[in-house]
């Protein structure tokens, strides 16, 4: 009987290493051997478990999406009022580790890749629609539906903008002020103080 059960551990380690490598480099253009090295294994093993580099990258992106989805679900479950639901969605996007420089940079790298890869585009599209849908749903209780959808777009754009600025350290928004900026926007749209 050989050493057993390494596969899930290695897959996890390789995906984590990929996030770290991509986040640090700010691009998907990292070497398989770098990723593998960070995970403490050979490049050959990465290929053994994932096939080609693209497969590992796809798995990595799915992992990022899954993390965000899970965190969002948890945060939404805690929220009671519609306003709290909207705030919960915003908060998750700027919470640790989602808003850590590496994760943010990795997100940006996948965004860029989505311009070329249909699969990446599809995955990001799913996330974008869910974010929009969640926001619109929460805000619809507080304003007309059309207004809610429009506000959701503004919030989504703000989140993306703050992400890219975080990645580039332009005005390097810290989580608290990022949240404050978006909350302020929502509050203004609601037309009353929180």
């Amino acid at each position: 009987m050989p050493k057993l059960g390494m596969e899930p551990l290695r897959r996890r380690a390789l995906i984590d290493a990929a996030v770290a490598a991509i986040g640090e480099a700010g691009t998907l253009d990292v070497r398989m051997s770098d990723i593998a090295g960070r995970a403490g294994v050979s490049a050959a093993l990465a290929h053994h478990y994932f096939g080609a580099k693209d497969d590992l990258l796809r798995a990595t992106m799915r992992s990022l999406l899954a993390d965000l989805t899970r965190e969002t679900r948890i945060a939404l479950a805690r929220a009671v009022t519609p306003r709290q639901r909207a705030s919960a969605i915003v908060a998750v996007n700027f919470s640790e580790p989602q808003f850590s420089p590496d994760i943010v940079a990795a997100w940006l790298a996948f965004y860029v890749e989505a311009q070329r890869s249909a699969e990446m585009r599809r995955l990001l599209g799913v996330y974008a629609r869910r974010l929009h849908s969640n926001l619109t749903h929460a805000l619809s209780a507080l304003m007309p539906r059309v207004q809610a959808a429009r506000t959701a777009e503004g919030v989504a754009a703000l989140i993306d903008g703050l992400y890219i600025r975080r990645a580039l350290k332009h005005g390097a928004p810290d989580p608290a002020s990022a949240i404050a900026l978006v909350e302020d926007y929502i509050t203004l749209k609601l037309g009353r103080t929180p």
Copy 2:
């Protein structure tokens, strides 16, 4: 009898070709031979005029920045009131050809590269600070300086976010609705300020 005065023409053609190639690919990871081919010359000539690929890329980015700077200067010169100045800055960022898909994608590509290249980071920093300064200056006539700076940050983030969403076709904002979104934000901030 060599053709004289070709240098400026070739440099311009190569830079334009670089913008087109990068914009189409959505990344700086395009071949020198592709760029040169679009400009109708050989890759060797591109090296002759620019040295290394990095040099051509830097020149290309400077060109994008110069275009935006020039357009901004022109638009600001036309504006009379502070409110018009703010709107002018916003409008330029969403006017043709700045907000065309290729230009937007090229911007995004350079943003990403800035994570690695100090020179790119410096160039983008100059632009970011100028945008922020211009906005803050215009808005300071309409609200307290601290509020103005804060609003400028929001506007900048919105612009970046709308750019990335344009590049990815997430909600694919058209110029008019993008401008409306940002103008709405400014108007809200103004109305709430006093």
Copy 3:
């Protein structure tokens, strides 16, 4: 409590799997893991029993040779007259499973490998000399020895040629017409000899 007596079973299964894999691929360039998989075991086990890939291939070739040798011996034992002996040798080469596409393709693959491997060359040489010797011996009773040797060469060349054409499906000779072709050749040579 390890299973006992598995070795001969595994070796046989692996050799059979090698023949099948090589025959299907038409080359020795098949993966150890493919061969092992066909035998229902891991690649590591194949190494355990055979050492290196080359060793397994050599054993596989010996197996093919042994099969052919055995069949030839049986067929020759049944033959009574010299003419029958010649026909028996021919018939064996085109009988099942010797002339089945996979076996034929495997033979061809080993032929090719013999250009590089001295051991393969030696093994094939033994078989070639025995074929020639058997044919010459049978035909010597019917024609002068020199003529018999020459005819044996023609028969051997025909057999090789029909094998390669079978492997490539050039004119895709079926067993019956292949035999007819070679028998016709022998008959012609016999009729002309006296």
Copy 4:
């Protein structure tokens, strides 16, 4: 003006080098860098001119086929009687450089590859059909058409068989005795002494 006109020279040199490398190795499994090295250039240049390894191999096979086709055409043009035409076809297949060990081994390697590559199979099929057609046509003037076709098959099989035996040095047929063997077969089928 750069150094010009190297392309046809390099392509020719690379194809010749490929034939030599393949002929020596007895397989298509040779390194691009080996082929390029024999041609006195880098592997990168081979890719520059041919694209992928497969493309170079296809071009190499086409070259072998073209050589044989050309030689056959020349030889047929010289022949007067049908019997001479048949002999001419045979003679070409065993003439220099067609029957030189390297060329023969290269042919064999491509034969083997044809089991996997549809393109190779197609190319070889064209050649096989032309050989058969040429032979049948020549022999049809001397015997019934059905007999002629059957004899052509025998001749083709003999040629293939003698090629493979040449490649493997089994009985290592020299050109003269190879021709004699095939001519003898044709003569026997014609039913009369030459």
